[in-house]
Every structure is written in structure tokens, then in C-alpha cells.
Symmetry: D3
Subunit: 249 residues, 6 copies
Amino acid sequence: MLMHLSTWPEVEQFIARSRTIVVPIGSNEQHGPTGLLGTDWLCPEIIALEAERTADILVAPTFNIGMAQHHLAFAGTISLRPSTFIAAIGDWIRSLTGHGFEKILFLNGHGGNIASIEAAFSEVYADASFAKRRAGYALKLCNWWDLPGVGELAREQFPSGHGAHATPSEIAITQWALPHARKSAHYAPQIAPSGPIREALEFRARYPDGRVGSDPGQATPEKGEALVKLAAQSLAQELDAFSLEPVPA
Amino acid sequence: MLMHLSTWPEVEQFIARSRTIVVPIGSNEQHGPTGLLGTDWLCPEIIALEAERTADILVAPTFNIGMAQHHLAFAGTISLRPSTFIAAIGDWIRSLTGHGFEKILFLNGHGGNIASIEAAFSEVYADASFAKRRAGYALKLCNWWDLPGVGELAREQFPSGHGAHATPSEIAITQWALPHARKSAHYAPQIAPSGPIREALEFRARYPDGRVGSDPGQATPEKGEALVKLAAQSLAQELDAFSLEPVPA
Amino acid sequence: MLMHLSTWPEVEQFIARSRTIVVPIGSNEQHGPTGLLGTDWLCPEIIALEAERTADILVAPTFNIGMAQHHLAFAGTISLRPSTFIAAIGDWIRSLTGHGFEKILFLNGHGGNIASIEAAFSEVYADASFAKRRAGYALKLCNWWDLPGVGELAREQFPSGHGAHATPSEIAITQWALPHARKSAHYAPQIAPSGPIREALEFRARYPDGRVGSDPGQATPEKGEALVKLAAQSLAQELDAFSLEPVPA
Amino acid sequence: MLMHLSTWPEVEQFIARSRTIVVPIGSNEQHGPTGLLGTDWLCPEIIALEAERTADILVAPTFNIGMAQHHLAFAGTISLRPSTFIAAIGDWIRSLTGHGFEKILFLNGHGGNIASIEAAFSEVYADASFAKRRAGYALKLCNWWDLPGVGELAREQFPSGHGAHATPSEIAITQWALPHARKSAHYAPQIAPSGPIREALEFRARYPDGRVGSDPGQATPEKGEALVKLAAQSLAQELDAFSLEPVPA
Amino acid sequence: MLMHLSTWPEVEQFIARSRTIVVPIGSNEQHGPTGLLGTDWLCPEIIALEAERTADILVAPTFNIGMAQHHLAFAGTISLRPSTFIAAIGDWIRSLTGHGFEKILFLNGHGGNIASIEAAFSEVYADASFAKRRAGYALKLCNWWDLPGVGELAREQFPSGHGAHATPSEIAITQWALPHARKSAHYAPQIAPSGPIREALEFRARYPDGRVGSDPGQATPEKGEALVKLAAQSLAQELDAFSLEPVPA
Amino acid sequence: MLMHLSTWPEVEQFIARSRTIVVPIGSNEQHGPTGLLGTDWLCPEIIALEAERTADILVAPTFNIGMAQHHLAFAGTISLRPSTFIAAIGDWIRSLTGHGFEKILFLNGHGGNIASIEAAFSEVYADASFAKRRAGYALKLCNWWDLPGVGELAREQFPSGHGAHATPSEIAITQWALPHARKSAHYAPQIAPSGPIREALEFRARYPDGRVGSDPGQATPEKGEALVKLAAQSLAQELDAFSLEPVPA
């Protein structure tokens, strides 16, 4: 069930049978010469939508702008500051738990989001912790590439040149889901350099075309399909397990 | 051109020929017994995408969560506080103007967003104003129903029972664009009550099924199509005019 | 009854008979070559004080600094950022509702304040809405020129050249109430230009003497008196109606 | 010269001859059974206006709401949180220094404001200090009772029962300036108790009628007049000295 | 009892017999040519530890970074903005009162901290005051040099050249406690100049070697020892008195 | 060189030869029945001080309070909210880089700090990234247990029962450095349970004595000594390498 295509009575009915929801979350940021700017929010959205085709899960709208300050030297990147991102995630969580959701899984598509999302969880939990009361809900961060089996498949598909940004696995997923938006380019070097990630201008100096350690030329829609199918299946299982997880009284 | 389906070099090329961008912005909130929760962000997205089919415009990802505190008593509503919303809009604007965009038009789909969006504009402009320097860019808020001709068409289509929330015009738009997500219900009363809008529980007490002054039963996909086509055409013209607007030196 | 000239026991007694209060709110900002910097907070204060002469209403101290970032290029303008303004309005509201006031009417004298005041209302309401509890109070924004009959009178007095800033109506009001502070100047052009309002330096480039669309030369103390008398009467009626407005339980 | 009764060209002319401005700042809070709620912002306003009658000084609008959380258990008190107060003072300072003012003297009427005003000064200075650049302006806090000679006169007028809140000196000043608003009551005990000041309910428990250590019954308009005349004279001298104070280059 | 060297069950046991805790708080900032950067947090820590040797008191970890924006032009100074400092003090207080502490004494070592600490107290108290509920705890700021008898001793030890920053008394304390870190220098002039304290670059222009009004050359470890012994004794008595202070119900 | 025991001229001299500084950072929080509340800030401080004995490095004061909301149900825990922690880390960084430091290594002792520290880095970098200018400095987070070789040694020393909180390795370090503060207790069960970490009351329900997955009974001062010696050596090498790391121009 897709929340944005449902009515409030339909969501109310869903809550009557399940207190769990998945929020695709990512970033709109440069992904090298051929990766879509939307890659990091499209991937979790694609996986969640695929999972929803066969499982009775509720998918929230996609949180499409994340923490991407280090990509701001490339056109099209939109970033929230960590403090803004944390505040916004907090408002999402307070909105959803106010409706009775007790398990919120953020399916993340951007490594640069991880720290801020975890900080946001602690910021929200702190309301309960300082007040010495139970929060009454549990939050979980799950990167799609960490879903059971997915990392293994990606390593098998791309034994070298997977890299850390504009990876062939994420580009393969968008190639499969959005075939009309497939781009191509000559990569020089074939595998991009690696190194630390700091602020935007230093990033662009280190990584002139935006890629970090990756060779996106290895991506194919077929590999993308395999990743999505497996990830969707794993996601449904994760949501099931999360739903069943007991919360100490 | 859709930003999220483009690469950074493509956006860089666009900026070389135009400094204008449109950001669809809305809200994910209850829309009565038959309106989709995503209605307010889907409508501007639908209109912007329709405009993009024939005009050389750049459409940013949709800002899909807005200021909807008054709808929080209905399941599925997700709201930012005004302060969070203002901070987030500010980060979007700073990201985009950093890339060289000089005209940003927010195509809005939610009346409850208007005050916070305008406050956000002033918050961002204030950086320049306090520092006694030129901002170098212009921001514009445009509600889709205020696009030239659109309000007139809606009044013609729905001479009574248009109302203020869960209106037949916005529901018609989603019916046309997302026919598989069309819902139906018996409305009692046919036209919902009207009155002031304050906080969430009072809102629900006044407007038990979520509608305000509207009879969404009048919506049809055909009326939606007419609204979208006209709005898309007007949007393209607005963007043209905005692009040409001189900024005093 | 003027709050600042009353003691706390007197206010306590007032609350025993009425839960309604009016807060004059405005801005200290340039008003062209002849308008007083205090015009926008003086006008609602003058109207509220006039109303208080005959009606049993409680007038709070005047909130005299508002959101005027666009006027900062003219000497004497003092502005809060929207975020500061919203925080301050929130503290006023929490102070007053803490004493038992249930209806707070902000009588506003500055168009540039509107968005931030409404955003502030939502920010305060959101505390209740996120927590799924009733706020227990109602907030109302009322621009003095929107009081019943006042706009009509102003249009009648100034059929042309009323404009949007440094209007003859607001200047007439201060001429009547503060005759010793009446200023005169040659206006060139007689009616100032109109256009969009953005940041401070652009504003000054567009509107060199600070006026927007107005010819303040039409102002007279007599017209000001008529406006104040009518506005005061309308305000008292608005406060009565607001007091009686039922709040859903 | 009163800023709110001046035009922007008049202020511009003032700045051409002086870069110094005085801002009366106080609080709207309970002042015992007979003190006006506005006492703390009226006193510095009265003194500044008296000084302005004979000296060429510029008086800003009065900052009338301060930090009075400890008085919130008494009706009519309006308080900003320290964080809000600091932000607002910062915006005032940035507005004024943007116009070219280099010396801003805050003439304070409320002891509870002192810490927040000083913290606000440091918050604003910190912008320059972190950036290793000169601020280019100087800020000064001056409590009216600390103006040269004023404390001595008050101690002479009220050798006992002056106290710390709702003092006979401040009440005498409002009696002189606002004779129609003079109140009377039986004080029991004649001199109120003294002690620490913390949060609002504890404050009311310790100080049931709102006074702290004072016997306002000793106030007379004549004593108020003497205080105002002396304070006004001292203020003009302080402003002169502050204007002349060299700022290291 | 030192909190950081205790276990949580030990602290729990302490709370069972006392609800009072002392928090040493200071600053890490330049202290002239011979003063240690840590002087202002070391002094209260040294005094608290000395007091703890003979009294059953609980000493929290030292809050070692305070508000020192005016010292930022000298290497090694680390400063929080007032707003950050206030937020952090608030989190400390909420953490400690959440464990049941009812009396928190901040033993301060830096004059520049005073305003922000007091503002922080009001910020925390305001939560209770706006909500019209009792805080249930009391906060006290105590500068070590204001402990009973200590100021007198310092004036006796250093009748001239004590000054306001990098004072011989604070340097004497660190000389006694940390003899291996004793520094020496030629002071020119012997007694540093005095004057106002504003932002960092102006500070350095006025006070080229960092001292304000002081002659630290008079410091000796013996004088430091006498100050510490007396201050420790006074602190223990202050904590006793604070513990016994009744809080109105 | 320890910053807090140095003078500003000494730090200035250090900066002339090195632009690198290490900041020990941790948390004051429960560490089970025998772990010291200060464990997480003492460990990095102990390691940094050990490294400083033989290497020419500069050690900043210890940032001793971190993000420990999940431990707040145990007495003695003091926590900052993530938002406060991020703001404070930002002020430390801005202070230090203002003095010319170009490489700041945070030596961290608390897993719960990681997300907030990384978010803080991005928050600070974002100032440069949004403004499209180079930051001019590099920030590095290094957990002491991730220093080269240290994790391996700990796994060798504690092949089972190392766990995630109140680990034998961290307790061994404090046993060695602070032998007088060594505590003992009977652990039941010997190895504490493991699981997710969320808010404070849930944490205490899952982990009744505060340990997570650990058997601190295996700690000995000798093991602690070995860990410290190795970690100190690795830290000095990390600082060397970080100092030499080229920053793209």
C-alpha cells in the first residue's frame, strides 16, 4: 500500500492490522557523468515499491533530499544541513508515531545520510529519555545495500570497481526501473579514484567527474533487476521481523 | 527536463541556457474520504511534468512534505513544523542558487504552505538584507490554482461545492493522472461545512471527514485533464515571464 | 483597559469576565519621505486605544518590531528575521494563554508581517497537534485595513494612489493622532512605482524614496480620524464576535 | 529625536552627525499590587524621552518585552525565553549597525534582563570574533538605576524598603509620568520579604503579592520627578561619553 | 565523591542521602603570558576536589569550555557561543535533575560565563514557568572568588594589581596545584591596562598580552594554597546551606 | 604538549611548527556495575596523554560530555542532545581553525557519539560548501578501539565477552590509569545480553545492570596497560600521517 495513493480511512485501516511503516529516504545529488541526480532516493523507492507489489506493507512518501553537502560543487545537488535534516526527520517521526505507528524503518539510499539519520533517531528518543518515559516506538535505519544478501550479490556482480559513490549497483537499479533515462559516457579513468570525503570543493578537486572508486560502466538493467528483486524480498522479511520484535514493557 | 532523471553535466548545460527552475511543493495530508494523501504534492508535480513535455523547463524533485499541522488528527498526514519547513526551504534555495539559478518558482499545491513559504523567502533574503548586499536571485511562490485562467476554469467547472480543502478540482487532477488510484465514497453532507482552521483536534471536530466546504463528488478525470492542460500552459508562460523579469542592478 | 497601565490584580479581574485580548502588532520601518518610521505599529496602537475608550476590552503592549527585511536599506528600519519573529510571537502567546486568555487577536499594521504571524500561529498550534491534545485557545490575525468597512472607506478616500506601502490611509492616521509629527515633502513622481518586493537593496533600487504605489500627499488628519473611528468601532465588534465564537469540545 | 516619529531621511541626517543611539529596554511584568505591568519598560522610556527634550540624542522604539519567566505566575506578565530574547536583541543590533550606528546603549529597566542582554552582546560579537574580524561597533548595557547619581538619590529617598522588585523608585517614576494610572493598596506586610528568585510558581509562593523586599507605599510623584530629571541628565552625559570613546583600530 | 570515578550504583546511593551536586565550570582561554589556558576550569576543579577530600559531597565532571568569544584572538582559546553554552548547560541540568538531584551548584571560574549561565538557568526554569508547574529543583551560580572570605583574602594578598583577567589569585591557585606547569615572563607594563571588554580583535588591541588590569607576578603557590583551602571550606559550607534551603511547596 | 597547561604564546609557537591537534572526546555515562561513569572520556584522555609523553603533539582539553541519551535511566549519566552536541563541536572546530589549526583529530571513546560527531563535521563543512569556498581544514574522527592494532589486541585479550558497552578493554584501561578507582562486583549473568539500543527506559529494561554483551570481569590493569601503550603509539602515527595528508588546492 502506497501512502500517498491512499486515503486517510485506508491508512487508518492499515494501522488496525499493522503498526509498521517503511520510509524510503535518500538524496538528490550528482552521481558522476552517467548517474541520475535522483539515484539515491530512486533506489530505495524502487525497492520499496517492488516489495509492496507482493507484501502487505505500507510505503510512505519518499524523503528525497538528504545530507549531501560534499556534492554541492556539482550542479543539481540539493542538500539539507545536518541540523535541518535532523529536524525534518524528527517531524516525520512525530507525525507517524502520532498516528499509532510503532515501528518505522527508514530504507536509506545514501551513505552520507547515515550519521544524520542516526543522530535524528537519538534526538527524538531523547525527548522520552530526558523525561524518563517510554517512547513507545522503535526506529530502524536500513541501507538497501545492507539488506540480507544484497551486498553479496553486488560484490559478485561487480568484483572490482564497485566503489563508494556512483556505484554500478545503484546505477543498474535505475537503469532497470527507468530505462528511458539511461545515460552513457566515456569514463576516464575507468575506475575513479578513492579517498576521504570532506567538503564540496575539496571533493570536486579529488573526484573531478563526481565518481568515487567506481566504474559505473559495468551496470546493466539485468543486474539492476536482480538487485531489486532480491532487495525487495529482503525488505519484506526485514519488515516482518521488525514488526514482530518485542519491545520491553 | 526533470532534474532527478538528469546528470550533473546535463544540469550544467541547462544552466548555461537558463537560470530558471520550478520546484513543485505540496503536502502529504488527509484529503477527505476519497482524496489521496499525496494530492497536494501530486498536483503541482503533475502540472509541472505536463508543462515539461513541451517546454524547455527544468523541474526539481518535488518537495512533498509541507506544513499540515492542522491535519494531524487524520491518519497518514505528515507535517513539518513551520520552523523546520522554513529551514528546509532555505537549504533548497541555497543549494540551487549556489549552482547559479537566479529565478526559483515554487509551484505550490497546499494553501497551508503559503505563509511558511513566504516566511522562508524572507528568511533567506534577510541574509542579504542584513548584510547590505544583493541576493542576486529572485524567488516566486505560485499556487497552481492561481495560475492565469485556472481559477476561472475551476469556478466554471464547480460553481458550488468547490470549497477550501479536498476540492473537486485537485481531486479531478489526481483522477486524471492516476486513474488506478481513484476512490469513491458517499459524502454526508454532500458539501462539507466551512469555518476557521486552527489546530488538529479542533479541525477534526469541525470537519469530521476531513473535507472543508467541498463536494469532491463532482470531480471527473476529464475536468482534471482540462485543469492540468491549462495549468501546464500557464506555468510555462509564467516561467518565461519570470525568466525575462529584469532585476535592478 | 490597557495592560501596561494596569496591575496584575486588575488583569486577573479582567480575565474573570473575559478571556479575550487584543495585541497591536506592527513594524518600525521606513515609510517614504514623509511617513513616520513607527507608522505600522502606531496605527494598530492608535486604533486599539480608540476602541478601548468606549469598549471593555484589554489591550496588550504593542509588538513594535516585525518582519521588515525588505526595508533594511533605509535608515531607521529595525527588523526581526522571520524565525526570530515566530519565536517571539510564540512566547507572547504562551505567556498570555498561560494566564487563561483563550482568544488572542493580533491587530496588525504591516503587510510584511502576515506570513510570519500565520506561520507563528501554526508553530504554536503544532505543539498541540503533534501531541494530539486540544490547544484550548484560538488565535486570530486581523489587519486593521481589513476590519469591516475600513478598506471601503480608504478606497473611497483615495480612489487612486493608495498603493501598497506608505499609503495615504496609514499616514493620515498618524497625522490625526500625532499632529506634531506631521511631515511634508515634494513627491516625485506623485504616485510611486509598483512591483514585486524582495530583498532590501533591490527594493531600494525599485523604490528610491521608499514608497510603493502610493501618493501620501492625499493624507489629511480628517481622513485619518474617519478611518480610526470606523476601525475602532469595527475592532470592538470583531472582538465581541471572536469572544463569542464557540470552540468545538 | 524619537526614531518612531521620524522619517528615514531624518534618521539618515542624524547618522551624518552622530553614530550613537539609545534603546529603552524593559519588561512587561507584574509589579505587586500597585505597580503597573509596564513599569520596567516605561521607566527607561520616560527617562530617555526626558533626556531627548534637551539633548540631541536619538531614541529608538522601546523594546518592551524582556525576560520575565519568574513572574509568569501573575496575570499580565509577558516573557520571552532567554534564547528568544537573545535572538531578538541580535536582530535589533544587526539592523541598527547596518545603518551605520557604532554605539548602541541599551537603557534597561529590568534586572531580570541583564544576563540575557549581556549574553546577546556576546552572541553578536562572536560573529566577528570567530571570523577574526572587527565588529566595528560597541554595545553598552546601562540600567537606569545605575546611571551616575541615581542609585544614591534612590537610597536617600528610600533608606529602607527599597527592595529588589516593585521598588518605590520605579513606581514613583510612573506615578510622576502617568499620574492618571496611579494605584493604591494596603501592603501586608509593609515591606515585602526577600530571598532568591527562581521559577514562577516558587516565586509566587515566596512573594505572594509579587513584591520583593520593597515598600512601594513610599513612592510619590515628586520623588519620581527628581529621579527622572537626574537620570535624564546622567543619560545624556553617558551618551556623550560613549560617543567619544575611542575604539582601537 | 567524584562522579566520573564512581559507578552508577554508587551515585544512586549518594542520591539516597543527598540531592545536591556541584559542577565545576569554567573556560579554556588565554590568561596572559604566564597563565595556563585551562586556568578558569582548573581553579573550580581544584577547589571542588579539595573540598571533596573532607566533605561528603558529589563533584560532577568539569564543564571546561565556556563563553570566551572575547579571547578568541589569542591562540588556544576555545569558546562556545552563548546560545550553544545555554543549550549545553540546559542538557546537563536536565540530565542531573532527571536522576533526582534537586540542588545544583555551578562553581564558576570565569567572569565571562556569568551572564550565559544565568540565562541558561532562566531558559531551563522557563519550561516550568510557561507550563505553570513547579520545577522541583534549584540552581545556584557561585563564582569561586565570591565564596565567603575568598575575595577578602585575595584583596589582602594582592592589594593592587589584582585586576580582572589573568589575576594573581587564579594563577596562584594553578601554581600550587600544578607546580610543574608554572610559567614565568617579564610583564610590561607590570600592571596591565583596564577598560571595557567587547569582541576579540578589539580586546587584543586594548590588552596586547592578554592580561586585564593584573600583575600575575605577585602569584605564589603559597598564596594559592591559602586561597584553595579557604575556598574549599567555604564551598562545603555553601553546599550544606544550599542543601538545607527549603523550597516552597 | 597539553593545551590546558600551556600559555597562549606556547600554543602560538606550536602552531608555527604544526597545524595538527587531537581532541579527546567521550561521554560521562553508566558503565555497568563496575565501570566508571567517566570511562568513555577517560580512555581517550589517557591514551592521548600517554602519546604526548613521547611525541610532539598538542592535546586539547577533553570534551567530556557526549551523546548518551540511551543511558539516562542510570544515575550519573549526563547527555547532550545530538543538536546541542553538534552545535558545541562546531564551536570547538571554529575556535581551533580560527587559530590556524588545519587538521583536527577527534579521538573518541564512545560509540554513541559517532553519528553526532560525523553530523557535526558535515554541519561545519556545509558553511564552506554552500558558500562554494574551501574550508581550509580537515576533520577526522578516530575511535580509540579502531586505532591500528588496537582492535586486534582487544579481541586477543578478550576472545569472548568483549561486548559493546562496559567492555573489558575500556575498563582495563581505567584500571591501569586510575588504580585507586578500581571497582568489583559479581556479574549476573557473567556475559550481559545483547540487542538493539534505543531510548533510555527500554535500554534499562533490556540491560538491567547497564552492560551490553560484555564481561568486564576479564579486565586487568595489565591488559589495560598493553592497550594504552599500543593505542598511544598508533595515535602518534595517525597524527603524523594526518599532518602529512595533502589537501587538494
